[in-house]
């Protein structure tokens, strides 16, 4: 293993935040599965929590971690090591520990209670969301110099994707509902990783079938094999593009 990844990993494990996160996920999952006798409903209740918590934890933790490793980064940029390697190693270590915590924390309960396609899809989507918001956190903290500003930015990113984006879409919908805006709204919502993850899980449960006309509408649009592939491409693009932007910014950053 890359030695920087190793050092960062050790550092992350020492701080125990990620371990707490893991425990938190396990407790939440088990309690939800125990409360709901129906596992599909359990997955759906879990979905709400995950869509909320995974982005928030990934963003805030990654941002704080990067700012707290300011000294570490400063020490290493004066050493014979390439900046690209430095930042990618830190990214790898942070995202790896968050993703591992997520997969263990939700994977174990899901494996016990709901080891099916939906459960599997759920884990994959959650892992991708973790990566996406870690990437965004890296980008945010590479751009800002100040810790308070960085955390503010992380919270804004979270608010934006969790609430504001949908709020704006709702406004568009209300304003223009006399026009054929179905396709437009679906396309727009698929640009939000939180929305697209939610829709992806929903169309793979029997939930959308129960939604009648509109359920059929977006099942037709996104529920096909091709639709799922497109969704995954969008999610992966959300991981890669901010990560690359963060790396490029970091390479030119002043210390």
């Amino acid at each position: 293993m890359n030695k920087i990844v190793k050092y960062v990993m050790i550092d992350i494990l020492k701080s125990k935040v990620v371990l707490t996160y893991l425990l938190f996920l396990i407790i939440i999952c088990f309690s939800i599965f125990n409360l709901d006798d129906n596992t599909t409903k359990g997955i759906l209740s879990l979905l709400n929590i995950i869509l909320f918590i995974v982005p928030l934890i990934s963003l805030i933790y990654s941002t704080i971690y990067i700012f707290n490793s300011g000294e570490f980064i400063e020490l290493l940029v004066a050493q014979p090591i390439s900046r690209k390697k430095l930042i990618t190693s830190i990214y790898a270590a942070v995202s790896l520990s968050l993703v591992t915590a997520f997969i263990l924390g939700t994977g174990i309960p899901i494996l016990i209670y709901s080891p099916d396609k939906t459960g599997f899809l759920f884990i994959i989507t959650g892992a991708l969301l973790t990566l996406i918001f870690t990437s965004l956190a890296f980008l945010g903290s590479v751009i800002t110099r100040d810790k308070a500003k960085g955390i503010g930015m992380a919270i804004f990113i979270w608010l934006f994707f969790s609430i504001l984006y949908d709020g704006i879409l709702l406004l568009i919908m209300f304003q223009f509902n006399d026009y054929p805006i179905e396709k437009l709204l679906m396309v727009l919502s698929s640009f939000n990783p939180v929305d697209i993850s939610r829709i992806l899980i929903l169309i793979h449960t029997d939930y959308s079938a129960l939604m009648g006309y509109s359920g059929a509408l977006f099942k037709e649009f996104l529920g096909s094999q091709k639709g799922s592939v497109v969704i995954f491409i969008i999610l992966i693009a959300w991981v890669i593009i901010p990560a690359i932007a963060a790396i490029r910014k970091f390479i030119r950053k002043d210390f």
Partner: protein
């Protein structure tokens, strides 16, 4: 007289008797054995003299039984016009070769058709060709037949007091509703009993038009492309303990009154405009002890008045109840609502129906008085369901946080949802059923 004379007389007499008996015997046998056989039972078999059903029907007298033995009979338009019992033995198959109506019972009282397999009736867009058609008849029994791949399976018109029991009906749906016939089709009948049939792959599983005082019970309708059961202009009927699964829509009751719907199971009727139960222009019915499970819409009510919806279970439906503004004086009480995406939806703001005394799993009020009734009213309509009502594409926001916020704020200060659609006595625990 000596003994010899007596013996001779006796011998002659005996011969006489024997002679007479041998002369009478054929008649005797005819009367005792053959006549009843000839009169009561006509056997039809591919190997026997009588190898055609038409022939057998022609020979048979009213009240006779025609036993059809195993084999495939390709006879077009068999007509029964007298009181006969048609029994199948060793699985005879009546084949319509995709061209003809197979069996018609016309103007008969007391005919029976039982234990026969019918297949491949003809298809015509002008005539409703069927496997078994009954017209202007009474006291007919159609039981334990298997009817495969026909246009209409059983078609009964202008008849009464008949019974359709234990038939297995499997169709192959055509391209659309027009090219597919109904499983059991009743038109202008009364006092019909339809029991224990299983109907799949037709347009409507069971279709009632102008049918009165009839009972439908313990049937199973699955995968019919339009409705599992369909009432049009039919009054004073009841359907009990049937199961309607994965049909275009479970049951549609239209333009009828006094229909009793008890203990049925409506499940997995899912799709763009699909219901467990569709009520349209219906008055004075009772919907009791039914289970609505995983339907897109549990019950859809339009132009419906004075219906009691009591003691039903609504489980995991998209919408448990969709009650249009054209409905008045309906009574929804003592039902259980579990895990439905939306409990109730409506398209208007004025609600003249009563929703008191149900159990709603989404209710989060309290019961300080401990009388089993929540102290705070429950509003079963969510703001978001009103939004989806007007803008279907809004369903992309389903289970998003924004919607959660909207619904919460609406709960606190209702502004858009109908003010009087409210359960003032929500139950704290589910009704035991």
């Amino acid at each position: 007289m000596n003994t010899e004379e007596i013996f001779l007389i006796g011998k002659k007499l005996w011969q006489h008797i024997l002679n007479g008996v041998t002369k009478i015997l054929p008649f005797f046998i005819f009367i005792v054995v053959v006549f009843p056989l000839q009169a009561a039972v006509v056997n039809v078999s591919k190997q026997d003299k009588i190898s055609s059903i038409k022939q057998a029907i022609a020979i048979a007298l009213p009240g006779d039984t025609v036993i059809i033995h195993g084999g495939v009979y390709k006879e077009k338009n068999i007509v029964i016009n007298k009181k006969l019992t048609l029994l199948g033995k060793n699985n005879p198959v009546l084949d319509g070769e995709n061209k003809y109506e197979i069996l018609t019972i016309k103007d008969v009282a007391g005919a029976v058709v039982s234990g026969i397999t019918f297949q491949f009736s003809g298809f015509s867009s002008l005539k409703d060709l069927a496997a078994i058609k009954v017209i202007d008849s009474r006291q007919i029994l159609i039981s334990n037949n298997t009817i495969l791949n026909t246009h209409f399976a059983i078609f009964i018109a202008s008849s009464d007091n008949f019974r359709i029991e234990g038939n297995q009906i499997r169709g192959t749906p055509g391209d659309d509703e027009q090219s597919t016939g109904n499983g059991i089709h009743l038109w202008k009948n009364s006092y019909a009993t339809i029991v224990n049939n299983r109907i799949t792959g037709h347009r409507d599983g069971i279709y009632f038009e102008f049918v009165q005082h009839s009972t439908i019970s313990n049937n199973y309708c699955k995968n019919n492309i339009r409705y599992g059961l369909h009432f049009m202009f039919s009054n004073n009927d009841e359907y009990i303990k049937n199961t309607f699964e994965e049909n275009g829509a479970g049951v549609a009751v239209m333009f009828s009154h006094h229909i009793h719907m008890y203990s049925n199971h409506f499940m997995n009727n899912q799709g763009a405009s699909t219901y467990g139960l569709l009520l349209k222009e219906i008055n004075d019915g009772i919907i009791k002890d039914n289970v609505f499970e995983q339907n897109t819409i549990g019950i859809y009510l339009e132009g419906t008045n004075r219906i009691d919806v009591i003691n039903n279970q609504f489980i995991r439906n998209g919408y448990a109840l969709r009650i249009q503004a054209s409905c008045n004086n309906n009574n929804v009480h003592s039902n259980n609502f579990f895990e439905n995406t939306f409990d109730v939806a409506t398209n208007g703001s004025l609600v003249l129906n009563n929703f008191n005394g149900n159990y709603w799993d989404k209710y989060d009020g309290y019961d300080l008085k401990h009388d089993g009734v929540g102290d705070v009213p429950y509003r079963p309509i969510s703001l978001f369901s009103m939004v989806i009502e007007n803008i279907p594409v809004a369903s992309i926001f389903l289970r998003s946080f924004v919607v959660f916020l909207l619904d919460q704020s609406e709960k606190i200060i209702p502004s858009i949802t109908p003010e009087n659609l409210v359960d003032n006595t929500p139950l704290m625990k589910p009704v035991k059923m």
